[in-house]
């Protein structure tokens, strides 16, 4: 169940647009945060009811964006861009490397619940390809060594590495 605070936030969002539909992405974002980083069907239903939109429409919108997760995700989400520029500069290798390193396939979460590996579209940072995004942080001009270093810092709790 969404907290009253989240519900209120979504109601306010509805008021900010001429049609409720326009506030949907922001509302889904609120819900996702409340539900621990993903959107279970109940969350979609709740948002739909709050906003007076068909539940199927809400689910469909959520499924379009890689930023919305329809399965539980790990503590950290590693989003690997595999769009053109990144691909040309080896994103596929990077993705395969991460998959081997973490021992999971794309879309899966490590058994300890730490990492979810995801493949996403252009992150808008083509100039510094290949790029991955971990949680809210961009990591650019990546190589396998850099990836090792970044993951080390995260797992050892040293936080972000630039």
């Amino acid at each position: 169940m969404l907290s009253e605070k989240a519900r209120q936030e979504i109601r306010t969002l509805c008021q900010q647009y001429p049609s409720h539909q326009s506030g949907l992405l922001a509302a889904l974002y609120v819900a996702q945060q409340e539900y621990g980083g993903w959107l279970p069907p109940e969350a979609l239903d709740e948002v739909a009811t709050l906003m007076g939109l068909p539940a199927t429409y809400v689910a469909s919108a959520a499924s379009f964006y890689t930023m919305f997760h329809r399965k539980p995700v790990g503590h950290h989400r590693i989003e690997v861009c595999t769009n053109i520029s990144c691909s040309l500069l080896g994103a596929d290798h990077l993705l395969a490397y991460l998959s081997r390193k973490l021992g999971i396939q794309v879309g899966e979460t490590t058994p300890d619940g730490q990492f979810t590996l995801l493949e996403v579209e252009c992150l808008g940072s083509c100039g510094t390809a290949p790029v991955i995004k971990i949680d809210d942080q961009y990591y650019e001009n990546l190589t396998e060594e850099k990836v090792d270093h970044i993951l080390d810092r995260i797992t050892t709790g040293k936080g972000r590495a630039s």
Partner: protein
């Protein structure tokens, strides 16, 4: 679209078309083929598939014909533009790169636009050798439909149909890019009662029927144009038969009835036709047991027994029930038999349309009503296509839907207001509305009634506040409804069978006429739930009416028909169904013939009464409860096996046609009645019973019913025949109708409301596989106040107790029902809820007890 026309040149051909139409439409009127996938004539264009690309002089690049509006003197090249031809060819090739090409096992094969257009407009060969994309293949969307996501070309037709017509947004696109799929909300099956239509409009084999799945290749089907017999709408359908079995039902366009749509019940519930339970031979009771017999034996026995009763007890000792589910021809012959051969007017049918009701004048006309008022009528379950037309009025023109019903029905979703009432409170509710309309609308409304001044005094008692305790309708809702009614330009009142039960026909209609008198251009139409309710009435299967609703008490008419039928018709008034019951119980009825109805299932009183009849003949498709009481059971042909006409809820005559042979020895009703009559009349009068076909029966009907003169099966044709709307005399005076005080009975404090569900366990649907999985288990809906009063909670098992008996149900507590009433759906529980009802059926009071 305006009235102006413009001229466009398409492939060198001059085409005149209305300004504002699309290039695609212009080309189609000129017979120029443009391939399409996403475009559908009944849906708003979206331009999603790029299949219809054409070249338009002066416009850069190729244009989608389905979304480009024409301009005067526009020059369009469809087949004369090499670029456009090439682009369309490429588009098909692209669509096919990932298409599984499983045509040999695809139910759409043979009538598939992708197949056809790939042949006609495609390259004929694919250059794609890589692995195709994989998605879900046998993916059930519901009990009725299965989706193959690999075959889908993402045209959105299915989504748009459910949005634009059904207003059920249950399908959408999920995912993105190459991974886009059609799907439902996670884990939630399609629920729309219109979902079957998406199968028809899907341009590929992505959406297919689970009932028709692998039953036949479409070219093996023999198709017969017919009419759906499952509700009063009478949707036009096509029966697809292979090897003497109905494999599928699809809609047939009729803009006066069903457009191009049908509901899922009509489409998927045909399993009863070929069900092994069908009666296949006549049965005669021997030593207490019903045993197979030949037609000769059965008919000879009936003739002998009826003759004996005629000798000993006279014609008034016999009675018959026709049916609002069997053809006009059967009903007509039954009353002719009773009146002419036996000499009695004891003929009626159950569920007779109330006196004073008028048919709805037009189904498509519903679209242009700005306010639709549903009085004890739930189109969504009783006559689904009516719901679709109402939705059209709401979605396209913003119509309001007011709902007077003891519980909330699906159409309450458009904001109502919902006028919940307790059965028996109909008159109070209407008087309350009359009073509120006068209060809100002031002069304009009052001026319409000639006797407004005298009327004000008796209407004093019906302020919304005083009405509320009488019928349970909140005063605020009444006022809100009155506001809407006063503003209405063309309100339409749809009356259902439930409306007249509580207050009586005359009073319910008088009170309604008071209201409509005050409003602009108001019309009232009765929504008959059964396929031939008007027909049964019209054919004279009523004790007081000859065919054509000509009164039996009129000596002139009696004489005319006497000479037409070559007999002296009896002036003795006949018994109606309510009168037959006590007559049975008192042993006055010695013989009875029941065709196509199952009274014993409807009420316990009826079952008990029928047991007292020494000689009961039942003619039906299945061994119904009533049939188990009979001395002779006659197997009859179903709608798919006989010719005849049905009269729909607008009075439209439409033909059903035989698509297959009846099972075993089953015979059409008209044949059975004719054969029996020929055994009973002396030889010199045999000629008056020489009907050789249903058509010849209809010929006589057309002579007997004044309005039907000149009609024949040929004139009815495929589309049917619509009578001119009945002239309703406009009233100028308010009639004083006083409301009943609310009934009270401390032993049975609650009012039982029953209603239809779309899918139930009735005689026919019980034999439709898959549909049965959609029927809920028996439940009773009660109001939270009632729950408190009886100390009962949501989900509790309870006994529902009336003076007739008790039945177990599961409780649903909901404020979507008026306090003091409980709702139970018909034909869901076994034994049926009819067990609690006493006949003649008025209101039934009940109480609840928790099951221990």
């Amino acid at each position: 679209m305006s009235d102006q026309t413009v001229c466009v040149i398409i492939d060198g051909q001059e085409v005149r078309c209305p300004a504002g139409c699309t290039v695609y439409e212009a080309a189609t009127t000129a017979g120029i083929h443009i391939p399409t996938f996403c475009h559908h004539p009944k849906l708003v264009p979206v331009g999603a598939c790029r299949q219809c690309l054409v070249e338009v002089e002066g416009m850069r690049g190729l244009q989608t014909a389905c979304t480009t509006p024409v301009r005067d003197n526009m020059v369009v090249k469809v087949h004369t533009s090499p670029a456009a031809v090439k682009a369309r060819k490429a588009n098909i090739e692209f669509l096919l790169t990932n298409h599984p090409l499983d045509c040999p096992v695809c139910d759409k094969g043979g009538e598939c636009p992708l197949q056809n257009q790939a042949m006609q407009d495609g390259p004929g060969q694919s250059r794609y050798v890589e692995e195709k994309r994989h998605k879900n293949k046998r993916y059930p969307l519901s009990e009725l439909i299965v989706l193959d996501q690999e075959r889908c070309v993402l045209c959105w037709r299915c989504i748009r149909f459910l949005d634009e017509w059904a207003d059920d947004h249950e399908l959408d696109l999920f995912g993105r890019g190459a991974d886009t799929r059609i799907d439902t909300f996670p884990g939630r099956p399609l629920r729309s009662k219109w979902q079957g239509n998406t199968i028809d409009i899907c341009p590929v084999g992505a959406l297919t029927s689970r009932i028709f799945r692998f039953e036949a290749r479409v070219w093996e089907l023999t198709n017969t144009a017919s009419v759906c017999p499952l509700c009063g709408v009478g949707c036009n359908i096509v029966l697809g038969v292979k090897n003497q079995k109905v494999r599928r039902i699809t809609p047939r366009e009729n803009m006066e009835v069903n457009d191009t749509w049908i509901c899922d019940k009509g489409r998927f519930a045909h399993g009863f036709v070929d069900h092994p339970d069908r009666l296949k031979t006549p049965l005669i009771r021997r030593n207490g047991k019903l045993e197979p017999a030949t037609w000769e034996e059965a008919l000879d026995l009936i003739a002998a027994r009826l003759n004996a009763i005629l000798q000993e007890d006279g014609p008034q000792a016999m009675a018959a029930l026709g049916s609002n589910q069997v053809t006009n021809e059967a009903n007509y012959l039954l009353q002719r038999f009773m009146r002419v051969v036996l000499g009695t007017n004891n003929v009626d049918h159950i569920g007779r349309i109330p006196t004073g009701a008028t048919p709805l004048t037009s189904l498509p006309g519903l679209e242009h009503r700005d306010v639709i008022v549903l009085l004890g009528c739930d189109p969504s379950t009783e006559a689904p296509l009516v719901e679709l037309w109402i939705k059209k009025a709401v979605l396209r023109h913003g119509a309001r839907v007011l709902v007077a019903n003891p519980h909330q029905i699906e159409l309450c979703r458009y904001g109502g207001p919902w006028l919940g009432y307790r059965p028996g409170g109909e008159v109070a509710l209407l008087n309350g509305l009359v009073r509120a309309v006068l209060d809100v609308g002031a002069k304009d409304q009052a001026a319409r009634a000639a006797n407004i001044e005298e009327s004000r005094s008796w209407l004093k008692a019906y302020t919304p506040e005083r009405v509320e305790p009488l019928c349970g309708t909140p005063a605020a809702a009444l006022r809100q409804a009155a506001e809407v009614l006063v503003q209405a330009r063309r309100p339409l009142f749809l009356v259902g069978p439930a409306w007249t039960k509580g207050s009586g026909e005359q009073r319910a209609f008088d009170a309604l006429a008071n209201l409509t008198l005050l409003l602009n251009d108001a019309e009232t139409g009765f929504v008959a739930g059964d396929a031939n309710a008007w027909g049964a009435l019209q054919m004279g299967v009523a004790p007081h009416w000859y065919p054509g609703q000509q009164p039996c008490q009129d000596p002139e008419i009696r004489n005319r028909l006497s000479s037409f039928w070559g007999t002296k018709l009896s002036p003795v008034p006949g018994l109606d169904w309510d009168g037959m019951l006590p007559a049975c119980a008192q042993g006055k009825l010695k013989g009875m013939w029941i065709i196509g109805s199952d009274p014993a299932h409807r009420s316990q009183t009826a079952g008990e009464a029928l047991k007292r009849i020494p000689f009961l003949v039942v003619q039906d498709l299945f061994m119904t409860e009533t049939a188990t009481l009979a001395q002779v059971v006659l197997p009859t042909a179903s709608f798919a096996e006989t010719e005849g006409t049905l009269t729909n809820l607008t009075g439209r005559l439409q033909m059903i046609r035989p698509a297959k042979r009846p099972p075993g020895q089953a015979r059409p009703d008209w044949w059975i009645i004719t054969e029996l009559a020929r055994r009973m009349v002396e030889s010199k009068r045999q000629k008056s019973w020489d009907f050789a076909s249903a058509a010849s029966v209809f010929q006589e009907i057309a002579k007997v019913i004044p309005g039907y003169r000149g009609l024949s099966y040929t004139t009815l044709g495929e589309a049917g025949w619509q009578p001119a709307p009945a002239q309703v005399k406009a009233r100028r005076h308010l009639v004083r109708v006083e409301a009943d005080p609310p009934s009270a009975d401390p032993n049975y404090p609650l009012e039982l409301v029953t209603g239809r569900l779309l899918y139930d366990r009735g005689t026919l649907l019980r034999r439709a596989s898959r549909i049965q999985n959609l029927v809920p288990s028996p439940y009773v809906i009660i109001h939270p106040d009632t729950a408190n009063q009886f100390g009962i909670a949501h989900g509790d098992p309870v006994w529902l107790i009336s003076s007739q008996g008790q039945l177990p149900f599961t409780v649903l507590v909901s404020d979507e029902i008026v306090a003091g009433t409980v709702f139970v759906p018909w034909n869901v529980s076994d034994p049926p809820v009819g067990m609690l009802v006493s006949e003649p059926e008025g209101l039934t009071r009940v109480r609840l007890a928790k099951q221990e």
